[in-house]
């Protein structure tokens, strides 16, 4: 087997990094495509099952033989889901949207400011404070759910947006990621701003943030996904059905006595939809952000 000489290539290397490729025989590339095909099918099956069931009747779902493509799509399942009053599904979607959006905005603001201070503002005790932040990374947030619940309930925040959102804003990990990012931010830009008479605060808002939008977008996407998909904390805090997020609502379907299959699957499909949109529009940033941030974590 021979190695292809790099340089002469028809397709432009996307990330400038298509190195180390070995040219192969037909056998090798056939194997590659078979493996890819199998993996793709396995990864897409759950999505297919979800959509098939969401647009079927219960009889079709529980039928004797597996129907690969439902002959008749049940569009009525959508309105049926929202008309059903036993689970406040529309309300839970709204709750999730409010929680995920405000959480994203809050985390970006609070954690980026703190990360910037730790990276760029010289202060005698900065190191000690950095250890205070690092210390929380050792304790996974979900282990503190018992004490956090105790605190939040004594504040009277159970079943409120405050209780759902505020305790989640102080992510040591996100602050850490921002610090790492700001350490690598070109100092010259800030110095220029300083010469123009801006203080730290002014330089931050007028120079640093506008030049860091890619990174902010990446963190925002990841935070939004985590906020939308969070389950344990909303489950603990949302005791009243009107305070349920969409994940808690879905979970209540699972443990419910009467199972209406098509409704459950329709609800699941709708719960995934917003994130699929986020994915399609922001995928480039997301992938970049994960590649950038994840390794350093």
């Amino acid at each position: 087997m021979t190695t292809t000489t790099p340089g002469i290539r028809k397709t432009a290397p996307s990330a400038g990094a298509r190195r180390g490729r070995r040219g192969g025989g037909v056998m090798r590339s056939t194997g590659l495509w078979i493996a890819t095909g199998v993996a793709v099918v396995l990864f897409l099956i759950p999505f297919y099952v979800l959509l098939r069931n969401a647009f079927s009747t219960d009889a079709q779902i529980t039928g004797d033989h597996w129907e690969f493509f439902p002959t008749h799509l049940q569009w009525g399942n959508i309105s049926e889901l929202f008309d059903d009053q036993t689970v406040p599904f529309a309300r839970s979607l709204l709750n999730s949207a409010v929680v995920a959006v405000s959480m994203t905005a809050g985390i970006l603001l609070v954690c980026s400011l703190a990360g910037y201070a730790l990276a760029r503002i010289p202060y005698r005790h900065a190191n000690k404070i950095f250890y205070v932040v690092l210390g929380t990374l050792m304790v996974p947030t979900s282990v503190t759910f018992v004490p956090s619940f105790v605190l939040v309930s004594s504040l009277g925040w159970v079943d409120t947006y405050r209780g759902l959102i505020i305790p989640g804003l102080f992510s040591g990990f996100t602050c850490f990621l921002f610090r790492q990012y700001f350490l690598g931010f070109p100092k010259e830009l800030e110095e220029a701003a300083r010469v123009d008479g801006l203080g730290h605060w002014g330089a931050y808002w007028r120079v640093v943030v506008p030049n860091s939008l890619n990174f902010f977008a990446a963190i925002a996407t990841i935070t939004f996904i985590n906020g939308w998909n969070a389950f344990l904390w909303p489950l603990v805090i949302g005791q009243d059905p009107n305070a349920w997020t969409v994940q808690v609502a879905l979970s209540s379907y699972i443990t419910n006595q009467t199972v209406v299959f098509h409704q459950i699957f329709m609800a699941t499909a709708i719960s995934i939809l917003p994130l699929l949109c986020v994915f399609l529009f922001l995928q480039r940033w997301l992938v970049q952000g994960i590649a950038q941030t994840g390794i350093k974590g």
């Binding site: 004797d64 201070a117 282990v143 018992v146 004490p147 309930s153 995928q283 994840g294």
Partner: protein, 321 residues
């Protein structure tokens, strides 16, 4: 907008710095700026992370059932209770089994996918997206699909339908711990959900490997395939592998969503967080014992993390990059 300037930078712009001088004092000091930026975060961190942890440690020494303002000090009774509680001890075992399954399988699968996608010549972005897409699904949604349709234990579940083609009887995937088929359900669900995410990390790392290394290896007579993978790709991925394993372990510690939803009220297959959830917020509402459990778990996590950091040299790879 404040017009403070740093003293170190005054020389190039003497005109601008003059008005700032007169307004110095607290606003101009670095200390002020530092606290201006960090205090919202720090205050929240103390109130919502450190205070609960402290409170939890405090509660763990008290008899605190149905109340969060305890009165009866009972010393280490909650700890002995939790450590001798077969359910809690069992949950630690469940976690160990789970981590032993999920960490290596996800590592191998995400690396495999990354290698696969990296080798493709066409439609790379498309295939990457396909493998990445499940990251958009929540654990609740995946549990629902897995439990209600793929592995539903009845004739119309997909897994049982496929087995039926080969004449194999229905398997009750989640309904019994013996044989422990529920592990297959839980591990596949998590594999599907998280492999794409780690694949991205590996892809980024693969693309950072200098091509010269492979050329040098080819000159030295290394055959492409296993040999180059073993002697070049794997060592070059060391830093990323370490980070991935650590992230996977942390994620495994947090396992709650799929266990809670897939296994519901069954007594088997409960990882520590699910067990703590039922202890503290179940019918008993035993916050004292729940807190003691949280403290024990936190201590374990810290020990394992430090131990693993020491062994795998986490952080070192970063600096050498």
């Amino acid at each position: 907008m404040s017009t403070t300037t740093k003293p170190a930078l005054t020389s190039p712009a003497p005109v601008k710095s003059r008005p700032a001088r007169t307004r110095r004092g607290l606003r101009g000091s670095r200390t002020f700026n530092f606290w201006l930026f960090i205090s919202p975060f720090l205050a929240g961190l103390v109130i919502f992370v450190y205070v609960p942890i402290g409170w939890s440690v405090y509660l763990s020494f008290f008899d605190a059932r149905f109340t969060v303002t305890p009165s009866k000090f009972i010393g280490f009774d909650n700890y002995t209770y939790m450590l001798t509680d077969p359910k809690f001890v069992h949950s630690l075992g469940t976690f160990t089994v789970f981590a032993a399954f999920i960490v290596p399988t996800t590592w191998a699968m995400s690396l495999g996918l990354a290698l696969l996608v990296n080798r493709l010549r066409f439609m790379r972005a498309f295939f990457r997206s396909v493998f990445f897409l499940p990251t958009a699904c929540s654990y609740v949604a995946a549990s629902l699909i897995w439990k209600m349709s793929l592995f539903s234990g009845v004739r119309f579940g997909l897994a049982n339908t496929v087995l039926g083609w080969f004449g194999i009887d229905n398997i009750a995937w989640l309904a019994s711990p013996d044989p422990p088929w529920y592990w297959l359900v839980i591990v596949t669900a998590r594999l599907w959900l998280q492999s794409g995410f780690y694949m991205i990390l590996f892809l980024a790392a693969l693309q950072n490997i200098p091509g010269e290394l492979y050329e040098a290896a080819a000159i030295d007579g290394a055959r492409p395939g296993w040999q180059t993978f073993r002697h070049i790709t794997l060592p070059q991925l060391r830093a990323t592998s370490t980070a991935v394993v650590l992230l996977l372990l942390i994620a495994a510690y947090q396992a709650f969503d799929e266990f809670y939803n897939l296994l519901d009220k069954t007594t088997w297959g409960r990882p520590p967080l699910v067990e703590l959830y039922y202890t503290a917020l179940g019918t008993e509402q035993d916050y004292g014992a729940g807190s003691a459990g949280a403290v024990i778990l936190t201590a374990l996590i810290i020990v394992v993390t430090l131990f693993q950091g020491r062994i795998m040299g986490f952080g070192r790879g970063d600096e050498s990059k």
